[in-house]
């Protein structure tokens, strides 16, 4: 039972009145706290919901620019200037999830005595990228028969001989079967010609695109499994067309990403000792400019190389002189293809798909 004095004591008690309680942080902790002067919510706000200030339609057709920085068979880096983030994101999403590719879907295993169990082996086969143009094939739905227009058949038959050491099964061991499946379906004792799992009416070899150009996986050095002496794998794999939304194996890009072009501004003169310090912190972006008479100045040499690590604004003196942000409407796009199509074709197809989506919506209205 609390007495009246005890209750009064509890009401008037303030812990900060006690002699030992510190009033702030100890000095060694206070100095290391870096407080950013800029408001984190708006500092790097690249996408500001605007009432027409970022991209106006009329200006779009005049101001839109594309600069290709690098382009190889597999990778591409290019700049898109004058477009809104909604579009850049739409293209990125389509590149990852809605561009069709060919990937192995059905694996018919005749014999597997390796240590990799059937389903794991089948899963790995599905993830192998196949260098076949998906535009030459049709989708295979449930009711369709697999034929030369919608299926690619591969065979894998590897046996590790008893006297050899461990053998690797690589994607180079996958053989393309242009005439379709060779595994026979079990028929109910009829005497007609035995059916296989696919019904190819003509050989895929005869098509002009594949005549002297056999279909192979995009990389021939991918390790599928390892076999010890005496182990064998015999299987047939059917590849069909699909999109990344259904399963990531059908994504045509290793990845596709974009970043906004960094905006690095010096708000005042950064001279001599401060300039040296700045360049030492971030030599990628800043550089020293000699102004003669022994005076030096820091300049922003390559803002594109900025990785937004914010090292340059950790320093108390520099935080007031460096302004870090992003240039609105300037997107640096990277596309890494897995091999089915070159990256510039991938992007063109992605734009076509967005167009097709609009058409579908318009038709329904």
């Amino acid at each position: 039972m609390a007495t009246k004095e005890e209750k009064r004591f509890a009401k008037n008690f303030n812990i900060n009145d006690l002699p030992d309680v510190p009033t702030g942080l100890p000095p060694h902790l206070q100095q290391t706290r870096v407080v950013s002067k800029s408001n984190p919510l708006t500092a790097n706000a690249s996408y500001v919901p605007s009432m027409g200030e970022s991209v106006k339609l009329g200006n779009f057709y005049e101001n839109f620019k594309v600069d290709v920085i690098s382009l190889t068979e597999r990778d591409m880096e290019f700049d898109m200037i004058g477009i809104d983030a909604a579009f850049a994101n739409a293209f990125r999403r389509i590149l990852i999830a809605e561009l069709p590719t060919m990937a192995i879907e059905k694996v018919l295993i005749a014999n597997n005595t390796s240590v990799i169990i059937d389903e794991v082996l089948a899963h790995r086969m599905g993830l192998i990228p196949i260098a076949a143009d998906p535009r030459l094939f049709e989708y295979l739905s449930e009711n369709d028969q697999p034929n030369e227009k919608n299926t690619i058949v591969f065979k894998l038959h590897v046996k590790c001989a008893k006297n050899k050491t461990r053998q690797q099964v690589l994607t180079s061991d996958l053989k393309w079967l242009p005439n379709g499946s060779e595994l026979l379906k079990e028929s109910g004792g009829s005497t007609s010609k035995p059916k296989t799992y696919t019904s190819f009416s003509c050989s895929q070899d005869s098509l002009p695109e594949f005549a002297n150009n056999p279909i192979t996986p995009s990389d021939l050095q991918i390790l599928i499994a390892k076999l010890a002496p005496g182990q064998e794998i015999e299987l047939e794999a059917h590849a069909v067309k699909g999109i990344g939304k259904t399963h990531a194996k059908w994504s045509p890009v290793a990845t596709a990403w974009y970043r906004m072009h960094p905006k690095v501004d010096l708000l005042g003169e950064v001279e001599d000792e401060l300039a040296e310090r700045l360049v030492k912190i971030c030599p990628k972006v800043f550089d020293i400019e000699d102004m003669g008479k022994g005076k030096k100045r820091a300049i922003v040499a390559q803002p594109r190389k900025c990785t937004m690590s914010k090292e340059c604004i950790r320093d108390d003196d520099l935080i007031e002189l460096v302004d870090l942000g992003s240039v609105k409407n300037h997107f640096i796009f990277n596309i890494e293809s897995t091999g089915s199509l070159p990256p510039d074709v991938l992007f063109t197809e992605a734009v076509k798909i967005l167009e097709a989506k609009c058409e579908t919506v318009l038709k329904e209205l």
Partner: protein, 122 residues
């Protein structure tokens, strides 16, 4: 699918099935650029359901027409993007070929120079 009122056709919600942020955000952006639009927005009722609701409210014009115009404009923008991109890529490839040819010619010229400097053959 359009949800609106029979009396006032300037306000409507369009439900698109099998769509997500990819198309909806792009259409929303184009919609907001139209001066006739007072409200242009989209929501995704539930992420597990593939459905998008696009709300359009205009200053008098029928919402359906404005929405259709926005989609048409979006298609035109896409075509423009494609053409600019294709041009940039062909220019880049031509530039690369030019550089390679120059490098090959330079190499050839250097080889001939070194070949002619061979003392023993004279």
């Amino acid at each position: 699918m359009e949800h609106g009122s029979f009396k006032d056709n300037s306000h409507a919600t369009f439900t698109l099935g099998e769509e997500d942020h990819t198309l909806a955000n792009a259409v929303r952006f184009v919609l907001n650029q139209d001066p006739r639009v007072t409200v242009g927005a989209y929501t995704i009722p539930h992420p597990s359901l593939e459905s998008v609701n696009i709300r359009v409210q205009t200053t008098g014009d029928p919402a359906k027409e404005v929405f259709k115009d926005a989609c048409q404009e979006l298609m035109q923008m896409n075509r423009h993007v494609r053409s600019v991109f294709d041009k940039a890529v062909t220019e880049y490839k031509a530039e690369q070929e030019r550089k390679e040819k120059k490098a090959a010619e330079e190499l050839q010229r250097q080889r001939e120079l070194f070949g002619s400097m061979d003392i023993e053959s004279n």
